[in-house]
Symmetry: C2
Subunit: 181 residues, 2 copies
């Protein structure tokens, strides 16, 4: 399975009205506070790795802390990389462990996410600190379905008053790092 995903900037206030009009379902919302770490023995920017603590607070539910490691790309074409993630009970202790080992917080990505569903797509309204408001539309697809699924996503974005040609392919982390330089 592949994840077909389009992302662009969007004014959330008007987008919410449009989503309402077209009958999209609001299913969930949550905040995600991500801290990306630098390693004491490697420059992750060079090695294309990432170590992240994600503190996630669902609108109604228990906060969860996750530790994630993403290795370098092992296959360029499909963007395949090694990834390991686990829930961790005590986020303070985890921060202490990483700090003790010499890992240092490098970048924080804080966002509030509102999830809608429409025609089998997940539409996510992301409000990202220091970056602004975005929308992501995504759906999983087999290889043969990628093109029609993408085209339909473009149509939906247009019907929501957005311009799909202004697609952003950079991650929020990448956008924040670009802002710093």
């Amino acid at each position: 399975m592949y994840e077909v995903e389009l992302k662009c900037r969007a004014d959330h206030e008007s987008l919410r009205k449009k989503l309402d009009e077209v009958g999209a379902d609001h299913v969930d919302s949550r905040t995600q506070n991500d801290t990306y770490y630098n390693a004491p023995h490697r420059n992750f920017a060079d090695t294309d790795e990432a170590l992240r603590i994600r503190y996630e607070q669902p609108a109604d539910g228990k906060a969860v802390t996750k530790l994630t490691y993403k290795g370098p790309l092992v296959e360029q074409e499909s963007k395949t990389r090694e990834e390991h993630e686990t829930v961790v009970e005590d986020d303070q202790a985890l921060t202490g462990i990483l700090s003790g080992l010499g890992f240092e917080p490098a970048v924080r990505v804080e966002k509030n996410r509102e999830f809608y569903t429409l025609d089998g797509y997940t539409i996510t309204l992301d409000s990202v600190t220091d970056l602004g408001e975005f929308v992501e539309i995504e759906q999983e697809a087999d290889e043969a379905e990628i093109e029609p699924v993408r085209e339909r996503a473009v149509d939906i974005l247009s019907s929501l008053g957005l311009d799909p040609s202004e697609q952003i392919r950079t991650s929020y982390l990448g956008l924040l790092l670009a802002d710093e330089t």
Copy 2:
């Protein structure tokens, strides 16, 4: 509070009979499989740090994985060191994260622990792979109580047919490392 603790070698079969005779309560037992890691950027043997994954299986209960970091001694006298520990949900993912970051398993300490209580003391029968059978007796004490609590522990060990003068002050990790050299 201080932890008053004595440890010595003990034949568990005869010790269990003695504990039965003196009316000690068997409260719990569990296995602990510890993996100590080496860091890619420091020699923990030199820096006196430790990074450990503990996989703990209670006799009746759910297995738990814990990640623990112990920093170097900050105060020799009281053996004070920075310590951070958290429960981690997915032990396979945690192993993958450490491996991805370049940490390597260095020593494994596997033991089965049986816990008894007697006169306010916890008596632990440790069966350690490659090291053999041990007993630990411990109780928490205020500073003023340390001596009487230690003396009473010595008396109890004697009454159980053990020789308290053969006390071992080295950790199981330390004993295993000493065996290797």
